[in-house]
Symmetry: D2
Subunit: 290 residues, 4 copies
């Protein structure tokens, strides 16, 4: 029996793929209604994280931040209360290495096993089982969960000990969010020289100088109006802030990344928080009365 | 008859591909010795740019900067003195839009035609005929030279009127050079968290968050020592400076790009000018006595 | 009776000025030996923060960070355990507004009064009673402690409710630390043009374009070698990090300040952590083998 | 006889101070009407820069940029055509060191003498004779003009050979314009924490962490509305651009200054070009619909 806690867009899609291949699933979510689609497909409801842990041998969590993970894992009805010996908790949430290591320690102190396995990829790859797992933990433990990760993802990057999965995820996010900012600057620059936006975007996305993931932003940037959120700008900014705070502790200077961070801060201040993070382009390209 | 002026590494490879398919070539270079390999393959020597223009119907130039283009084009023995009616000058040099437009005007004033056709791609694609041409000028003129561009490149991006090819090239360079800086920061950040450099570089290059062209930097970054120049850091810095000066004129704010520019300035100050521009990583990752 | 807890360089000098005008003082410090100079001048020793609070009506604290404040204030032998009704705790430590408000709440919950009163000014003004107090809290409470602040400082800036003193202190630190960075850049720039460092520094410090506090860096910058710490570079960096984290929460974009922050991060990485923060100049001015 | 060319706000005030102490003045300006106030006070009109140079022994110029200086100095009716042996040209314009050295060379080639003497200080100090002259050139020559500089200014900073005056001026401008940006950030930050803008501005201007010249921005920042230009924002941006281009040539990395430069670029894009450069605060503090 597999457990799954945290059924937002990402979690639901991941769990759904497990169900689709015939895995038995026990699920829990703070808001029960969000579990309904999975229950309809045959998943079993558990009334608490603890109950999930009691019923399942391997529990996946996909939660929004360290606070949410903490509240699911610790406390009276928490996950750790239900985990018995040798069970495995696989946390797919995007947190930070320090926090993840602390969770690993608590889990091991309870005689159980912990893997950090955050994902690169958003809603669409989650739905199609094409996520990339960035994994930290004991290598043998990872082998035990591999078959499940293979169902939900297309690649598993084993990065070493506890916390290394999430460390890699932060580095990946740094690239993603900063690349979006530099792509927006490249387009802004070219347009300021009179180039046609659509043509320029297509050339930049065709040539190997642009991160391929940004192809997904093509239409919204050409349109330059609604920027409906796939990945909300305020989350991109939050990720850079988390990266900045982590880098402060490790001593890594990140001048370019900080420049991008403050650009997103500006974008937030200008009302773009809830838009897709590609809306950073809208900020750069907007012209006042000058 | 095709003319080719400017036989550095790029120019020689481009001209060589024209010869290889049987085109007749007249060539000139400031230093004659650099023309020898092409002469050995059957190219004809001309003693001046003017002579090239007199003999050829289409003249390609591939020079290092506006100064070099000016000295080849203008002056007593210059290209424009030799061009007679309707001939086409295709300038593949990386200059700036303002300069390129000025050259177009002078060429048209002489009754001839001008195309700006800088390339994305360095030595290796030049050798294999896999360059990407970014082209500005009259569309009909571009059609007339298309078959030659097809020999030297794998794609032709027609961007509109005079100067638009070079404008696009600057936007492409902005992406390239800034992406290198953010990639270096992502690696530095991950390493500071204890990740293995090689593993991290491979994950970042595998996932779609990194510009594919940076795959070419894999070995030198893993090695982190010699950074033998494919694209010298001082040239990358020069390109960002040119972009900055152009953006000042057009009014495009480029905060992230400027952060990258100053990072390269630091790298130059620390003795990395002649290294590959990937050596910006070496600067970020270097640790002092702290 | 006045209490004083936290007898580092700043605290000792401040307490010493109170003693000098005849105030009766009870003091405590984690390391007792640091209290000796004050005990020699007539201060009374208390074995815990609680004991200080029991004996004094007004207790000043001057500690290094929120953690130190927390450990002095809370806990079994903590300050709050000893404060009885209506006593006043004046915290002069540099913390952050959120933390300071939390301390105010805890103090008021215990029926006592709280003032945040961090200082602008370092060792020298502390010794001479020339500090500037930046004060938040109830205005009437501030009036009650005014005579003591007047002994230790030359100005009292009343900024409003709880946390506003420390908020102002962070804004002041932003100015101080960022100004040092831009001063260093101005000198680096001028020297790169061939100007004599000493002459240039003197002109910049004479003209009103430079923060006057930087006059104290004149000799060490002219000398450009030891940069013996008055205000260690790693503390300056820590202050900017605290400012950055606070600004993330309030949503203020601070692009220039973040640029300075990463410059100090670089300086730390290059072994300058323990030097005075003016050593950021050394980083900028240092030349490699280029 | 003293000559004065360039009668904008600065030039007129400077020339007026020379007249006021009884100096005989010959003046010229592109637009004659601007000379009228001085002619009314007894100055003599010359119809060209050449004529000024023929009549005067020492000629001051106060022009807006290198282009204006060039057009006054060179050409048929230019200053250099009228200067005869040993006369002195004192250029007070803000240009760049390279240009200034070129002017020095041309002047010396004509057997005459050149001094670069740009000023720190704007309209108000110009009117009151309180400018600070930043002077480069032959020391003996500077002594010969000292009495006139003393009339127009309160200090003369002799910085060494040709171009050093203007080099110093650029370093001073770097400080001025960048300080304004960091002051704006400090105020924005403090306000985001709930501090009262007026109170905060007054504290920051009182404490020695802020460049004193910024006291002149107090009212407009408190008001935060019109920002009537004393020093237009687009000029501040232009100065930083000039500094950036100069630093590129000398190899000085200026990360913080570039951050400020792009902040001003943003401000221009948002319609603040013609406002005082303190309006960079308005950009930072403006809130969108977030």
């Amino acid at each position: 029996m597999i457990g799954f806690i945290g059924l937002g867009i990402m979690g639901e899609n991941m769990a759904s793929n497990l169900l689709a291949v015939g895995e038995k699933l026990t699920v829990h979510n703070r808001t029960k209604s969000k579990a309904q689609p999975l229950l309809d497909k045959g998943a079993e409801w558990a009334s608490s994280p603890k109950e999930v842990a009691e019923k399942a041998d391997i529990v996946f969590t996909m939660l929004t931040n360290p606070g949410a993970v903490e509240s699911v894992a610790l406390g009276e009805d928490g996950l750790l209360k239900g985990l018995s010996e040798n069970k495995i908790w696989v946390d797919c949430s995007t947190v930070n290495p320090e926090f993840s290591k602390a969770m690993a320690n608590k889990t091991e102190a309870a005689g159980c096993r912990f893997i950090d396995a955050p994902v690169a990829g958003s809603k669409d790859p989650a739905e199609k089982g094409l996520l990339n797992f960035l994994v930290g933990g004991n290598e043998q433990d990872v082998k035990e969960v591999k078959s499940y990760l293979d169902i939900m993802g297309k690649s598993i990057q084993y990065m070493g000990s506890h916390g290394n999965g999430i460390a890699t995820k932060l580095a990946v996010n740094l690239s993603l969010v900063t690349s979006m900012a530099t792509f927006a600057e490249a387009v802004t620059f070219g347009e300021s020289l009179g180039l046609d936006r659509k043509q320029l975007i297509d050339v930049l996305l065709t040539l190997p100088v642009t991160a391929p993931v940004l192809k997904g932003k093509r239409e919204m940037m050409i349109e330059n109006s609604t920027f409906e959120a796939q990945f909300p700008l305020e989350h991109a900014h939050k990720d850079l802030q988390q990266i900045a705070e982590t880098a402060y502790k490790t001593g890594a200077p990140l001048p370019v990344t900080h420049g991008a961070k403050e650009l997103y801060a500006f974008a937030k201040q200008n009302g773009l928080s809830k838009k897709d993070f590609a809306a950073v382009y809208q900020l750069l390209a907007s012209e006042g009365a000058d």
